[in-house]
């Protein structure tokens, strides 16, 4: 069966520090991968998606970037965090071009 992992589960970082969040999927190949951010009490905002290795599409101009170095690995990064980067970051995968998405457990990021 397929599983999706995210780490770390929680992170507290000072303003101006770098960020690296990792997401990996097991039990499938060539998944579509997604990064979402959820601000407190709000819905999810799509940040990036990838349909293959090295292919990244950005939905919202911001202080973040994403990379997909391997088929089942998706990384969210920042060179210098802002207070507004705080939130709950969720990685998701989808087996095809349509259909339901499967979400990881999330990373709660607090920028201080």
């Amino acid at each position: 069966s397929q599983t999706i992992h995210q780490w770390p589960a929680t992170l507290v970082q000072p303003v101006g520090s770098p960020l690296s969040l990792e997401c990996t999927v097991e039990g499938t190949s060539n998944p579509n991968l997604y990064w979402y951010r959820q601000a407190a009490g709000r819905g999810l905002q799509l940040l990036f998606y990838s349909v293959g290795i090295g292919q990244i599409s950005s939905e919202v101009p911001q202080n973040l970037s994403a990379s997909r170095p391997q088929d089942r690995q998706f990384i969210l990064s920042s060179k210098k965090l802002l207070l507004s980067d705080s939130g709950f970051y969720l990685c998701a995968w989808r087996p095809g071009l349509d259909g339901e998405q499967y979400f990881g457990p999330g990373t709660r990021l607090t920028v201080t």
Binding site: L90, A92, L97, D98
Partner: protein
């Protein structure tokens, strides 16, 4: 931008009652999906309804879709305490990600 808008934002009912949540969206869709999120956790997919479908059932869940009104509803019958969660509708237009609403926070009173 967020396309889906759930209504109500919060709903509190007694255990055993039915809960109905509504979702409206703005653009054409391939399908509409409903997800549940327990506090501080990831989202769990509940049900998907395609644009050419009008109604779909899964256990105690019933989803309707009216593409002419760009709206959907989620009905949870015979609610249980474990149904307490936030519920989100999400629309899919293509190969990119989902567009989520802000969610309905459902509380089931024992």
């Amino acid at each position: 931008s967020q396309q889906g808008e759930e209504d109500p934002q919060a709903l509190s009912i007694q255990e055993g009652e039915n809960a109905t949540m509504n979702c409206s969206y703005k653009t054409s869709i391939n399908n509409l999906q409903w997800y549940r999120q327990n506090s501080g956790r990831g989202l769990v997919h509940l049900i998907l309804i395609r644009s050419n479908e009008r109604e779909k059932h899964s256990g105690r869940l019933r989803v309707t879709l009216d593409t002419s009104k760009k709206s959907s509803s989620l009905l949870i019958t015979a609610s249980r305490a474990a149904d307490t969660a936030s519920y989100f509708c999400a629309t899919a237009g293509g190969a990119d990600g989902l567009t989520f609403g802000k969610g309905t926070h459902l509380i089931i009173q024992p």
